[in-house]
Symmetry: C2
Subunit: 136 residues, 2 copies
Amino acid sequence: MNILRIGYLDCLGQLTVVGDISKEDFSKRFEFIKYHSDSYHPYVITDEADKIVAAGTLLIEKKFIRNLGTCGHIEDIVVDFRQRGKNLGKILLQALKELAIELGCYKVILDCEEGKVQFYEKCGFKEKGRQMAFYK
Amino acid sequence: MNILRIGYLDCLGQLTVVGDISKEDFSKRFEFIKYHSDSYHPYVITDEADKIVAAGTLLIEKKFIRNLGTCGHIEDIVVDFRQRGKNLGKILLQALKELAIELGCYKVILDCEEGKVQFYEKCGFKEKGRQMAFYK
Protein backbone atom coordinates (compact mmCIF):
# COMPACT_ATOMS: atom_id res chain seq x y z
CA MET A 1 0.00 0.00 0.00
CA ASN A 2 1.33 3.41 -0.88
CA ILE A 3 0.02 5.56 1.96
CA LEU A 4 1.44 8.69 0.31
CA ARG A 5 -0.65 8.12 -2.80
CA ILE A 6 -3.85 7.59 -0.84
CA GLY A 7 -3.72 11.05 0.67
CA TYR A 8 -2.46 10.76 4.26
CA LEU A 9 -0.36 13.91 4.03
CA ASP A 10 -3.03 15.74 2.03
CA CYS A 11 -5.44 15.07 4.86
CA LEU A 12 -2.96 16.09 7.59
CA GLY A 13 -2.19 19.21 5.56
CA GLN A 14 -5.70 20.42 6.39
CA LEU A 15 -4.75 20.36 10.07
CA THR A 16 -1.43 22.20 9.95
CA VAL A 17 1.80 22.60 7.98
CA VAL A 18 3.06 19.29 6.68
CA GLY A 19 5.98 20.53 4.61
CA ASP A 20 7.70 19.17 1.57
CA ILE A 21 8.52 15.61 2.60
CA SER A 22 10.47 13.33 0.29
CA LYS A 23 9.17 9.84 -0.38
CA GLU A 24 12.29 8.44 1.28
CA ASP A 25 11.91 10.52 4.45
CA PHE A 26 8.22 9.66 4.63
CA SER A 27 9.03 5.97 4.32
CA LYS A 28 11.63 6.20 7.09
CA ARG A 29 9.10 7.80 9.46
CA PHE A 30 6.47 5.27 8.41
CA GLU A 31 8.88 2.43 9.21
CA PHE A 32 9.70 4.04 12.57
CA ILE A 33 6.01 4.20 13.47
CA LYS A 34 5.53 0.59 12.35
CA TYR A 35 8.54 -0.52 14.41
CA HIS A 36 7.11 1.30 17.45
CA SER A 37 3.65 -0.13 16.93
CA ASP A 38 3.24 -0.67 20.68
CA SER A 39 3.32 3.11 21.11
CA TYR A 40 1.85 4.57 17.90
CA HIS A 41 -1.59 3.69 16.62
CA PRO A 42 -2.52 5.78 13.59
CA TYR A 43 -6.13 5.33 12.47
CA VAL A 44 -7.62 6.52 9.22
CA ILE A 45 -11.02 6.52 7.52
CA THR A 46 -11.05 6.09 3.76
CA ASP A 47 -13.70 6.88 1.16
CA GLU A 48 -15.03 4.55 -1.59
CA ALA A 49 -11.94 5.26 -3.69
CA ASP A 50 -9.67 4.30 -0.75
CA LYS A 51 -8.59 7.89 -0.25
CA ILE A 52 -7.95 8.93 3.33
CA VAL A 53 -10.60 11.38 4.51
CA ALA A 54 -9.99 11.39 8.24
CA ALA A 55 -6.98 10.62 10.43
CA GLY A 56 -5.88 10.54 14.05
CA THR A 57 -3.28 8.82 16.17
CA LEU A 58 -3.34 7.22 19.59
CA LEU A 59 0.03 7.49 21.32
CA ILE A 60 0.50 5.16 24.26
CA GLU A 61 2.44 6.33 27.31
CA LYS A 62 3.56 4.05 30.11
CA LYS A 63 3.63 5.79 33.47
CA PHE A 64 4.80 5.08 37.00
CA ILE A 65 1.77 6.76 38.58
CA ARG A 66 -1.69 5.15 38.81
CA ASN A 67 -0.39 1.64 39.46
CA LEU A 68 2.08 1.80 36.58
CA GLY A 69 -0.80 3.09 34.49
CA THR A 70 -1.10 3.50 30.76
CA CYS A 71 -2.23 6.83 29.32
CA GLY A 72 -3.53 7.34 25.80
CA HIS A 73 -2.77 10.59 23.98
CA ILE A 74 -4.96 11.36 20.98
CA GLU A 75 -3.02 13.41 18.46
CA ASP A 76 -3.54 15.16 15.14
CA ILE A 77 -7.24 14.56 14.52
CA VAL A 78 -8.37 15.80 11.13
CA VAL A 79 -11.35 15.29 8.84
CA ASP A 80 -11.17 16.30 5.15
CA PHE A 81 -13.19 19.52 4.81
CA ARG A 82 -15.13 18.00 1.89
CA GLN A 83 -16.33 15.22 4.18
CA ARG A 84 -17.43 17.21 7.18
CA GLY A 85 -20.90 16.84 8.65
CA LYS A 86 -20.86 13.06 8.26
CA ASN A 87 -19.84 12.30 11.83
CA LEU A 88 -16.45 10.98 10.70
CA GLY A 89 -14.67 12.82 13.52
CA LYS A 90 -16.94 11.27 16.12
CA ILE A 91 -16.55 7.79 14.59
CA LEU A 92 -12.75 8.16 14.56
CA LEU A 93 -12.67 9.38 18.15
CA GLN A 94 -14.87 6.50 19.25
CA ALA A 95 -12.55 3.99 17.57
CA LEU A 96 -9.45 5.55 19.14
CA LYS A 97 -11.11 5.60 22.58
CA GLU A 98 -12.12 1.94 22.26
CA LEU A 99 -8.59 1.02 21.22
CA ALA A 100 -7.19 2.95 24.20
CA ILE A 101 -9.46 1.06 26.60
CA GLU A 102 -8.54 -2.25 24.94
CA LEU A 103 -4.87 -1.37 25.45
CA GLY A 104 -5.51 -0.78 29.16
CA CYS A 105 -5.46 3.02 29.33
CA TYR A 106 -6.89 4.43 32.56
CA LYS A 107 -7.42 7.72 30.73
CA VAL A 108 -7.35 9.16 27.24
CA ILE A 109 -6.39 12.80 26.79
CA LEU A 110 -6.15 15.28 23.97
CA ASP A 111 -5.61 18.98 23.48
CA CYS A 112 -7.84 21.21 21.40
CA GLU A 113 -8.71 24.80 20.65
CA GLU A 114 -11.34 26.38 22.85
CA GLY A 115 -13.81 26.32 19.95
CA LYS A 116 -13.61 22.53 19.70
CA VAL A 117 -14.42 21.80 23.37
CA GLN A 118 -18.09 21.19 22.60
CA PHE A 119 -17.29 18.70 19.83
CA TYR A 120 -15.07 16.66 22.13
CA GLU A 121 -17.67 16.81 24.89
CA LYS A 122 -20.07 15.18 22.43
CA CYS A 123 -17.43 12.47 21.98
CA GLY A 124 -17.47 11.76 25.72
CA PHE A 125 -14.51 13.89 26.82
CA LYS A 126 -14.56 16.41 29.64
CA GLU A 127 -12.57 19.59 29.96
CA LYS A 128 -9.79 18.86 32.42
CA GLY A 129 -7.22 21.63 32.27
CA ARG A 130 -5.13 23.91 30.15
CA GLN A 131 -2.65 23.08 27.45
CA MET A 132 0.61 25.02 27.72
CA ALA A 133 3.07 25.15 24.84
CA PHE A 134 6.59 26.30 24.19
CA TYR A 135 7.64 26.73 20.56
CA LYS A 136 11.30 26.71 19.64
CA MET B 1 21.04 2.33 42.12
CA ASN B 2 17.79 1.44 43.82
CA ILE B 3 15.43 4.11 42.53
CA LEU B 4 12.63 2.80 44.74
CA ARG B 5 14.69 3.38 47.86
CA ILE B 6 15.61 6.91 46.89
CA GLY B 7 12.01 8.05 46.84
CA TYR B 8 10.82 8.21 43.23
CA LEU B 9 7.39 6.83 44.02
CA ASP B 10 7.17 8.82 47.28
CA CYS B 11 7.69 11.95 45.23
CA LEU B 12 5.19 10.95 42.51
CA GLY B 13 2.72 10.06 45.28
CA GLN B 14 2.47 13.77 46.04
CA LEU B 15 1.16 14.32 42.51
CA THR B 16 -1.50 11.62 42.35
CA VAL B 17 -2.29 8.02 43.29
CA VAL B 18 0.70 5.76 42.77
CA GLY B 19 -0.75 2.55 44.20
CA ASP B 20 0.86 -0.44 45.83
CA ILE B 21 3.50 -1.44 43.31
CA SER B 22 5.65 -4.51 43.91
CA LYS B 23 9.40 -4.25 43.52
CA GLU B 24 9.19 -6.69 40.62
CA ASP B 25 6.51 -4.73 38.75
CA PHE B 26 8.37 -1.50 39.34
CA SER B 27 11.56 -3.03 37.95
CA LYS B 28 9.72 -4.27 34.86
CA ARG B 29 8.37 -0.78 34.14
CA PHE B 30 11.78 0.71 34.85
CA GLU B 31 13.37 -1.68 32.34
CA PHE B 32 10.67 -0.82 29.78
CA ILE B 33 11.42 2.90 30.15
CA LYS B 34 15.15 2.21 29.87
CA TYR B 35 14.61 0.08 26.77
CA HIS B 36 12.53 2.89 25.22
CA SER B 37 15.05 5.55 26.14
CA ASP B 38 14.57 7.25 22.77
CA SER B 39 10.99 8.05 23.84
CA TYR B 40 11.07 8.42 27.64
CA HIS B 41 13.32 10.86 29.43
CA PRO B 42 12.61 10.93 33.16
CA TYR B 43 14.48 13.69 35.02
CA VAL B 44 14.82 13.99 38.77
CA ILE B 45 16.38 16.40 41.25
CA THR B 46 17.89 14.90 44.39
CA ASP B 47 18.77 16.45 47.74
CA GLU B 48 22.08 16.17 49.64
CA ALA B 49 21.08 12.69 50.85
CA ASP B 50 20.38 11.58 47.24
CA LYS B 51 16.65 11.48 47.89
CA ILE B 52 14.46 12.46 44.94
CA VAL B 53 12.72 15.78 45.65
CA ALA B 54 11.44 16.67 42.18
CA ALA B 55 10.56 14.65 39.10
CA GLY B 56 9.23 15.05 35.58
CA THR B 57 9.35 13.19 32.28
CA LEU B 58 9.82 14.26 28.70
CA LEU B 59 8.00 11.94 26.30
CA ILE B 60 9.10 12.20 22.68
CA GLU B 61 6.52 11.85 19.91
CA LYS B 62 7.42 11.50 16.25
CA LYS B 63 4.84 13.07 13.97
CA PHE B 64 4.06 13.24 10.26
CA ILE B 65 3.04 16.90 10.41
CA ARG B 66 5.52 19.80 10.60
CA ASN B 67 8.10 18.22 8.31
CA LEU B 68 8.01 14.91 10.16
CA GLY B 69 8.36 16.95 13.33
CA THR B 70 9.18 15.85 16.85
CA CYS B 71 6.95 16.95 19.71
CA GLY B 72 7.93 16.86 23.37
CA HIS B 73 5.30 16.07 25.99
CA ILE B 74 6.17 17.04 29.56
CA GLU B 75 4.45 14.70 31.98
CA ASP B 76 4.01 14.22 35.72
CA ILE B 77 5.87 17.20 37.11
CA VAL B 78 6.10 17.16 40.90
CA VAL B 79 8.17 18.86 43.58
CA ASP B 80 8.28 17.47 47.13
CA PHE B 81 6.11 19.76 49.27
CA ARG B 82 8.95 20.11 51.80
CA GLN B 83 11.17 21.55 49.08
CA ARG B 84 8.82 24.07 47.54
CA GLY B 85 9.81 27.71 47.15
CA LYS B 86 13.33 26.81 46.03
CA ASN B 87 12.67 27.12 42.30
CA LEU B 88 13.12 23.38 41.78
CA GLY B 89 10.08 23.21 39.49
CA LYS B 90 11.44 25.96 37.30
CA ILE B 91 14.89 24.37 37.18
CA LEU B 92 13.38 21.00 36.24
CA LEU B 93 11.20 22.54 33.52
CA GLN B 94 14.16 24.40 32.10
CA ALA B 95 16.20 21.19 31.93
CA LEU B 96 13.36 19.29 30.24
CA LYS B 97 12.83 22.13 27.74
CA GLU B 98 16.54 22.22 26.91
CA LEU B 99 16.56 18.47 26.43
CA ALA B 100 13.52 18.72 24.14
CA ILE B 101 15.24 21.34 21.99
CA GLU B 102 18.42 19.25 21.89
CA LEU B 103 16.33 16.29 20.70
CA GLY B 104 14.90 18.41 17.88
CA CYS B 105 11.40 19.14 19.19
CA TYR B 106 9.62 21.94 17.33
CA LYS B 107 7.35 22.34 20.35
CA VAL B 108 7.06 21.20 23.94
CA ILE B 109 3.61 20.84 25.46
CA LEU B 110 2.11 20.00 28.82
CA ASP B 111 -1.25 20.02 30.51
CA CYS B 112 -1.95 21.65 33.84
CA GLU B 113 -4.71 22.80 36.15
CA GLU B 114 -5.94 26.35 35.60
CA GLY B 115 -4.27 27.43 38.84
CA LYS B 116 -0.83 26.46 37.54
CA VAL B 117 -1.00 28.46 34.29
CA GLN B 118 0.94 31.36 35.81
CA PHE B 119 3.73 29.10 37.03
CA TYR B 120 4.21 27.60 33.57
CA GLU B 121 4.09 31.05 31.99
CA LYS B 122 7.03 31.97 34.22
CA CYS B 123 8.77 28.89 32.78
CA GLY B 124 8.33 30.24 29.24
CA PHE B 125 5.15 28.38 28.23
CA LYS B 126 2.07 29.99 26.75
CA GLU B 127 -1.53 28.91 27.12
CA LYS B 128 -2.47 27.24 23.86
CA GLY B 129 -5.72 25.36 24.29
CA ARG B 130 -7.80 23.08 26.43
CA GLN B 131 -7.05 19.63 27.74
CA MET B 132 -9.88 17.16 27.30
CA ALA B 133 -9.93 13.85 29.14
CA PHE B 134 -11.88 10.64 29.13
CA TYR B 135 -11.55 8.38 32.16
CA LYS B 136 -12.38 4.71 31.90
